[in-house]
């Protein structure tokens, strides 16, 4: 397949799904959206082309964070909220690893929020699979920072009174370079986004609208459900106009300072008026507006929304080290110990 990030060591042989299957019993609830995400990962990893020993999967705590046990890679099941910090250490220590992080909306946006915005700001080359089920699954059903306002959960018997984050907005507000949104019920969209994330040099956030069948069942159904999705999901592709609808006759246009839905063929709107998606645009302005769109007045946007080039933290670390090694007179610890003011007695 085409270009992937060249820092990571490549495999000489063609790998297959079996290379990444672990021998551990998968303990998610039957019907949980996480199963599909696992299937997507097992499908995409062999395609990426790296040596299988160079994959490293890191997670925090939560249902989603059990992920590393189910993939046969080097894996680290961390503590709650700290996956991004652990991943950062892994990647800096060895940039030749392909580091993947599995995390939840609680893990990364509640307790882990700080590490999340900082890994993004630094643009450490990590691929983050954010299982957004809008609930704390593992602790059995408390609201999370993405739970819609008003929702009744175990800790909000009168409905939550917290305005939720929109993951894409937060990512871009933190200077993110890659953001994709995918539903857990479309394995192709998932694998495509994962593949692009692997290619992207920098922090890649893939928000996966994942169903928690036990504590927030059908939370995404109004958007990703079979019956509605043609009208509620806009899947963007780079270079293509942003069209959706059962008859693919609706599109997104920019009017004055804001986005609007227009019907092609009505009010003089033609295909040429429809915005063409540019995921590589450095300026996140439009991408941010896209990430914010949501029903009832808009479809929600899926696919790779942003993928902008920017130096990565891990590359810059290596560059500074290389430069220092080339220029410094201190080449080993004996040099160091004897540097500066010393005298003989």
């Amino acid at each position: 397949m085409d270009y992937v990030n060249m820092t990571v060591e490549r495999s000489n042989v063609q790998l297959s799904k079996a290379d990444f299957e672990s021998d551990q019993m998968v303990k998610w609830c039957p019907g949980c959206g996480a199963h599909a995400i696992l299937a997507a990962v097992e499908r995409v990893f062999p395609k990426i082309g790296y040596r299988k020993e160079n994959f490293c999967m890191v997670s925090g705590i939560g249902c989603s964070s059990r992920f590393p046990y189910y993939v046969n890679t080097y894996g680290f099941h961390g503590i709650h909220g700290r996956a991004a910090a652990i991943s950062t250490g892994v990647k800096i220590a060895n940039p030749r690893l392909s580091v993947w992080m599995a995390t939840g909306d609680g893990d990364s946006l509640a307790i882990g929020g700080n590490h999340f915005i900082h890994i993004i700001r630094r643009n450490v080359d990590i691929n983050i699979l954010l299982f957004n089920n809008q609930i704390y699954g593992l602790t059995k059903g408390q609201y999370s920072p993405t739970t819609p306002m008003g929702k009744i959960t175990k800790t909000s018997p009168q409905g939550t009174i917290e305005h939720p984050f929109t993951v894409g907005e937060l990512v871009m507000g933190a200077q993110g370079t890659f953001f994709a949104r995918v539903p857990d019920n479309n394995i192709n969209l998932m694998t495509e986004a994962m593949f692009e994330a692997a290619r992207h040099d920098g922090t890649s956030i893939i928000e996966i609208m994942q169903n928690c069948i036990i504590f927030a069942d059908k939370a995404h159904n109004d958007i990703t459900g079979k019956e509605v999705k043609d009208e509620t999901m806009l899947v963007v592709k780079n270079g293509e106009p942003m069209i959706f609808g059962k008859n693919r006759d609706k599109g997104i246009i920019l009017r004055d300072t804001h986005l609007e839905v227009a019907e092609i063929g009505k009010n003089g709107v033609t295909l040429d008026d429809i915005l063409v998606h540019d995921q590589y645009n450095q300026d996140p302005g439009i991408q941010l507006m896209l990430a914010k769109l949501a029903p009832p007045h808009f479809p929600m946007v899926f696919g790779v929304i942003r993928s902008a080039m920017y130096p990565t933290y891990d590359d810059l670390v290596e560059e500074q080290i290389k430069y220092a090694k080339e220029t410094s007179e201190i080449r080993n610890v004996d040099d160091l110990l004897n540097s500066g003011d010393t005298w003989e007695i």
Binding site: Q24, Y74, I79, R82, A324, T342, I345
Partner: protein, 616 residues
């Protein structure tokens, strides 16, 4: 006043303290002064005394900055209780420091700084240079600012710059008092101001003028000479504890072949370690200034999983924040060096002061049964060796090590005999070999109970670790009751077994007697000096200073049992003594504690020891 030849008085050791306003350059002055002492072969220890604020308002007590040097003709163990020579650049610094001056001490003041406003700001009712305040001292009053400006008149230097070099004038006076050569300082200026040659000249002139002026001052009745100390042959340098800690980690990385990773967040008084390591990218050190302490330690854990010598440096509040993550390193059995440069607590406490009150936290401050190795350095210089030791133990025993130092050690400096890397002990981390068919993540070496370190990227060793309880040998998640008991016991035993690999506890003095003085960490110098004093008086007193705290050296009980009384001296409310009480049910522990953000004074120790020796 005429120049006259002064008698030279030989002294064994002298304590000098430079104090002034934050902007007066006292740190630089003190450093230059001690470098010269070191060069002529005195042993020495120094300690800077920063204000809590960056630049507190001028001429206030809060804004006083100081630098103390203790130098001598034999081994120097402390920075000195009381001061022989005090250089006080303004009234506030005089007022704040006079209590530290010995009776009869020489006090050098800049009379120009004693104007009415400054005197009032310092809280004096009247000019202390005019009343009886300083009657017990040998007062040297010099219009330093004026003289400095005058000395530069010919150069046409503007007044502001001139004023800023008044510290060099004072230094010149001190050089005269101590019969020092000016050349090393001239050399220093030449190095430092390569790009601003005018400053070389200015400083040289001012320094020389100070020196010359001193010759004319009658109050300076004699000059002091301190013979070179008899020190082990070798190459030496001056080093602070924080720098020594940083270098010890670099040395361990080189020796072990494991790249250094530091994940840290700045915090006083530990920040210098981070700043120092950030300089050595040429040695491959990867230094990550994290967004907070938790990210610091967690990034280090990630790097450790990935095969680095992973470290994190902090002080008390930061160690609190790291405690959850340290548990993760304990259960994943990964190496991790945590340096805690202790400061005054609780909470934010006294951030610029030193104490030893994080011992409990280091030993016990984590959820669950969560043992780690704890070691403590005791001098600025041996921060190098204990940082190295901490890394060695952590790498070889695959478990976190907490290294305790403190603000005194961190900021203070001593001389450091430069070792050769070839002479440093080997460090052999238990790396798993690629494609080892017998590799199991939690299989242990029967002798050390240590598991193998299988580094991501290595062929044939893919595995997963994490914070849930591990199944013995295979390392998968296990909820089995007996397995949990086994793993809890293994983790404890693995740390206890470290006692087989560390030296026995030495005793300074007879192995039996009336009183054993026990101490640990940064109080070594003061306690040692106090014990020595009483030993010299023929008292039955010995000293055991602990560097290895968890586990304790194997002979600890034997050491303690040799004495009728044991007194444990600490700069906290009694944390080590209580830890010893846990381990050894002996009725004869006494304790001496001080929680004032200050080091022990030798006198208060000897008083206490004498009291115990005299009582039944």
């Amino acid at each position: 006043m005429a120049k006259k030849k002064r008698p030279v008085i030989e002294r064994d050791d002298v304590v000098v303290k430079f104090v002034g306003d934050s902007g007066d350059g006292m740190q630089l002055t003190g450093n230059m002064f001690s470098d010269v002492a070191a060069l002529i072969g005195n042993d020495l220890a120094t300690f800077p005394d920063f204000p809590a604020e960056i630049r507190a308002p001028q001429n206030t007590i809060a804004g006083v900055s100081g630098f103390q040097v203790h130098m001598g003709n034999s081994k120097i163990f402390t920075t000195g209780d009381l001061v022989d020579v005090l250089v006080a650049m303004n009234p506030a610094s005089l007022r704040a420091n006079l209590k530290w001056a010995k009776k009869g001490a020489t006090i050098l003041t800049d009379t120009d700084a004693f104007d009415e406003k400054a005197i009032e700001k310092a809280g004096y009712k009247q000019d202390p240079l005019q009343d009886n305040t300083l009657i017990d001292y040998n007062l040297v009053k010099a219009p330093i600012t004026t003289l400095t400006k005058e000395s530069l008149k010919d150069l046409g230097v503007d007044n502001k710059i001139a004023e800023r070099s008044k510290n060099m004038f004072a230094l010149g006076i001190l050089y005269f008092i101590f019969n020092r050569d000016l050349k090393p300082s001239f050399h220093y200026y030449e190095q430092k101001f390569k790009k601003k040659p005018e400053l070389i000249q200015i400083n040289k002139i001012v320094l020389q003028s100070g020196y010359n002026y001193a010759e004319t001052v009658e109050a300076i009745e004699s000059v002091i000479q301190i013979a070179p100390a008899k020190m082990e042959k070798g190459r030496y340098r001056n080093i602070t504890g924080n720098v020594a800690t940083a270098w010890g980690l670099l040395a361990a990385a080189e020796k072990s072949g494991r790249p250094l990773f530091l994940g840290s967040y700045p915090i006083t008084p530990a920040t210098e370690i981070l700043m120092e390591l950030a300089k050595y990218k040429s040695l491959g050190a990867k230094v990550f200034q994290a967004e907070d302490e938790i990210a610091g330690v967690c990034s280090a854990i990630g790097a450790s999983f990935t095969g680095s010598l992973a470290c994190t440096t902090t002080s008390g509040p930061g160690l609190s924040l790291k405690s959850e993550a340290i548990g993760l390193a304990v259960i994943t059995e990964l190496p991790l060096v945590i340096v805690d440069v202790q400061r005054g607590g609780p909470s934010t406490g006294l951030p610029t002061k030193s104490e030893q009150s994080d011992l409990y936290q280091a030993l016990f401050g984590r959820n669950g049964e969560c043992p780690v190795i704890v070691v403590a350095a005791s001098t600025a210089e041996n921060c190098f060796y204990y940082a190295y030791e901490a890394a060695k133990l952590s790498l070889e025993h695959m478990t976190p090590v907490i290294l305790l130092t403190d603000g005194y050690l961190g900021f203070g400096s001593t001389l450091f005999r430069i070792p050769k890397m070839a002479d440093m002990p080997s460090i052999k981390p238990p790396l798993a070999e690629a494609n080892d068919p017998d590799f199991k993540p939690y299989k242990r070496d029967p002798e050390t109970l240590v598991r193998k370190w299988a580094i991501p990227g290595t062929e044939g060793l893919r595995h997963r670790v994490g914070g849930l309880e591990k199944e013995d040998i295979i390392g998968t998640v296990s909820n089995d009751p007996l397995n949990h008991q086994k793993m809890v016991d293994y983790r404890a035993a693995k740390v206890e077994k470290v006692a087989d690999f560390i030296p026995e506890q030495p005793i300074d003095g007879a192995p039996e007697g009336q009183l054993l003085v026990v101490s640990w960490g940064g109080t070594y110098g003061a306690v040692h000096s106090a014990v020595k004093r009483l030993q010299d008086e023929g008292k039955s007193i010995s000293h055991a200073h602990f560097h290895h705290i968890m586990p304790l050296p194997k002979n600890t009980e034997k050491v303690l049992k040799g004495f009728r009384k044991i007194i444990v001296c600490e700069l906290n409310s009694g944390q080590f003594v209580n830890y010893l009480r846990m381990k050894f049910p002996m009725p004869n522990f006494y304790q001496f504690n001080k929680v004032q953000g200050l080091p022990f004074m030798i006198n208060e120790l000897t008083d206490k020891f004498n009291q115990l020796l005299e009582e039944k």
